[in-house]
Amino acid sequence: MDKRNEIRIKDASFPAPFAAGLEFNAPVHGTWNIVHIGMQFPMAHQIYICADNCMRGVVMTAAEMGMLDRISGVVLSEEEMVSDDITRVTLEGISELLHKFDKLPEAVIVFPVCVHHFLSCDMEYVYSHLEEEFPGVIFMRAFMDPIMQKLHLTPEQTLRRAMLEPVKAKEPDDRQINILGCDMPLDKNSELYSLLTSNGFKVREIFDCRTVESYMDLGAGRLNICNYPTGDHGVKAFSERCDIPYLYLPLAVDYDEIDKELKLMCDTLGIEMPDYQDRRSECDRALSDLKVHLDGAPVAIDYTVHPRPFGIAYLLLSHGINVAKVFADKVTDEEKDVFEKLRKEYPDLVIAATITPGARRIPRNDSDVVAVGQKAAWFCGTKHFVNMVEGGGLFGYEGIIRLAGLIAEAYDTESDTEDIVPRKGLGCVSCI
């Protein structure tokens, strides 16, 4: 085993099992990027101000969604970057673009980029002039600045915050609960969803907002819930600004943590917490059935399928399922405890890198593996995989039962990995 690319968990350090270095990008693109996320704001138009090479990825993402009419660009030339005033270039470019529209978009998400930081672009000046020139248009302040993402906020975090900034506090609707910050609609059979609706609450997600007006009703929430890590920053900021109570209830896969989250929500809303002992037993049965079904077949899990890959590994291993590998380049703070438990209880579990240079050339011939996630499927070279990203909206005990079913289904079924995993934004329209 080459420890530069694979390591037993007992030898791995937290939070970075592998040395930092050059980065490989596998041909696996089911997770959402900022273009996909931005399209969730009803009819918003996205404008990027950047060099050709940076522009290409975002505009082609939109093209593959069949949404070229919702994205535009101001292309920065070398001369403009070196000799011009970046603030002026940005303002003039966006203004010129908007003047090309027969009908102005209701909302525009503006994406300056890394160079705007380095050239000290005064974006507030840009926005103040744009808002003066186009008074009916909502301008959202996003960024596509990956140079900041390792040490500061990621573009995705900034975007999720920006998309909630136009929402103003409204007269609270005591029955409205907002679930925000994730790209996958919450499973309506989950305990979280059922608890809310059975107690008379109506759940509002971004996917329910078809118009700007409807989107603005998010400001009337009684409680905001976020269940996805990269949404936490923005939903929290929105909640504080609008004085809406906020709960971060991540997609837990540990029974006690699930109970704790549900209890927290019940206490916050003043509703009774059901006894979920039976659900725990159902989970145990589902996992036990899965173990029998897989009959010792190896399982590999990756970080794109769910924000808790190590949690899933522990859940499966502790139910006797043969988890061979977890594909992850780092361990998040949320998974520190389960990482330590795995180190002690399953020390031979292998962690495999996905971005190290050597990951490019690791043989992809584990066709007998059942992969949980697209990256695991590609790296293993298997056609048996759970085609899901970002947790898939699964939550709680129901989520665990569903996941067990999906793994069993993947074991039974061959999928066309080469056709599926390079497609961008699982769940979005794909024109390829």
């Binding site: 040395a19 930092a20 270095g21 050059l22 980065e23 490989f24 990008n25 041909p27 693109h29 950047c50 060099a51 050709d52 090479n53 940076c54 522009m55 290409r56 990825g57 505009v59 082609m60 093209a63 593959e64 070229l68 535009s72 660009g73 101001v74 292309v75 920065l76 030339s77 070398e78 403009e80 970057m81 270039v89 470019g93 010129e96 673009l97 090309k100 529209f101 980029v113 890394c114 160079v115 930081h117 380095f118 050239l119 596509m144 990956p146 140079i147 900041m148 993402q149 390792k150 040490l151 500061h152 240079p357 050597g358 490019r360 050339r361 080469e418 390079p422 961008k424 024109c431 390829i432």
Partner: protein, 383 residues
């Protein structure tokens, strides 16, 4: 006026063009970039990424390292990867922030080369150019690094090097194979194809000058060809063996061999101004237009959408690379041969013949891309 795109995508950028050009040559390309350049390239602009384990990476540059000028991480990471993977060469490409902060790539190349013993060169991109700019600089840098001596001229069969092939222009792999077949059919010896597998020698590194004439099949090859002409007296012919052009192109290769003078094979095929247009890369588009003129006596004007002006286009043609100028150029078009996305900027009543171009529409219409050597819209009744 700023360069704005309201509806059209931008073409593939220079960084991706450089990576594409070097993809099959056994090296390791390192893009000094925070993120994005890798996924953009391999998702939309690289058809070989899924199953060909070419070594192309980013450095994952962060703001602090950029501000403090910490090149050590970049250098050490590259050296570590090279020692692990043993590439035939290392190429370093640039992106906007290292460009703005004046990163000394030439110096870094010397350090890496000195420490690894692996030939290391810089491809002068900065993400503001189009793919032709990046690919042509990459081919040029590669040739400069490895073309060392001129072999004796062949006396019995003219040896030809094919230069400038990338999937960005030739997304259907049959196209480049057809180019090699064309050469063989006309009695030439195709020695290698720089950039793509054409069923020839897959490792041209030591054979770059074992040719008598270079055939530049897209403008991505022009800089390398000019270098080889100036340094080794190897003439080049710019042209693509499109339908109707094969005889003329073969004649041009023979002529260049005899005279030692480089030529654009399509330049002396005079076309008149027309309301029919072909939009695309200048060498391929000009060759298709010239071929149609020769075969059917139909005039088609070329709108060359790249900015690399080293390849001349005819008097009736134009370089046009912004959405505004392309829209203006096509405003009176009666017929247009172009990537399907250009439909957005064509007059509604213009006849439109789809010719997907990876550098424009990425993988959207990949399955429609024809073997360009056989593309004949007249014969197919499209025009």
């Amino acid at each position: 006026m700023r360069n704005t795109f309201k509806i059209l995508p931008v073409l593939t950028g220079d960084v991706s063009g450089a990576a594409s050009a070097l993809f099959e040559l056994g090296g390791m390309t390192v893009i000094h970039d925070p993120s994005g350049c890798n996924s953009t390239y391999n998702t939309h602009d690289e058809t070989r990424w899924y199953s060909n384990d070419s070594l192309i990476y980013i450095t994952g540059l962060n703001d602090v390292d950029a501000i403090t000028g910490n090149d050590e991480k970049f250098i050490n990471s590259t050296i570590e990867a090279a020692q692990e993977l043993n590439p035939k060469f290392i190429s370093l490409t640039n992106s906007p922030i290292p460009f703005l902060n004046g990163t000394d790539f030439e110096g870094i190349c010397k350090i890496i080369s000195g420490r690894t013993g692996i030939t290391t060169f810089h491809v002068d991109t900065n993400a503001t150019g189009d793919y032709i700019s990046g690919a042509s600089k990459a081919f040029e840098a590669y040739v400069k690094a490895f073309a060392v001596s001129k072999a004796l001229r062949s006396t019995d069969q003219i040896r030809v090097g094919i230069i400038g092939a990338t999937p960005l222009d030739l997304a259907n792999p049959e196209s480049v194979k057809s180019v090699a077949s064309f050469l063989a059919d006309y009695g030439f010896e195709p020695v290698y194809c720089l950039g793509m597998d054409a069923g020839l020698d897959s490792d041209p590194q030591d054979k770059l000058t074992d040719v008598d004439v270079n055939l530049v099949i897209s403008s991505a090859g022009i800089r390398a060809a000019i270098f080889m002409e100036e340094k080794f007296n190897i003439p080049y012919v710019a042209g693509f063996p499109a339908e109707g052009m094969k005889d003329a192109l073969a004649g041009a290769v023979n002529e260049a061999y005899k005279s030692g003078v480089s030529v654009c094979a399509y330049s002396n095929i005079v076309r008149s101004a027309s309301d029919r247009y072909i939009v695309g890369e200048p060498v391929v588009a000009s060759s298709i237009a010239a071929g149609i003129k020769r075969k059917y006596d139909i005039d088609i004007d070329v709108i060359a959408v790249t900015v690399e002006g080293l390849v001349p286009v005819a008097e009736v043609d134009a370089y046009s690379c912004t959405e505004d100028t392309i829209t203006e150029a096509l405003k009176s078009a009666g017929a247009v041969i172009a990537d399907p996305l250009y439909r957005y900027v064509c007059p509604a009543d213009a006849e439109f013949i789809r010719l997907p171009h990876l550098a424009m529409s990425g993988r959207l219409y990949l399955k429609e891309v024809p073997d360009l050597c056989k593309f004949d819209p007249i014969k197919e009744g499209l025009l």
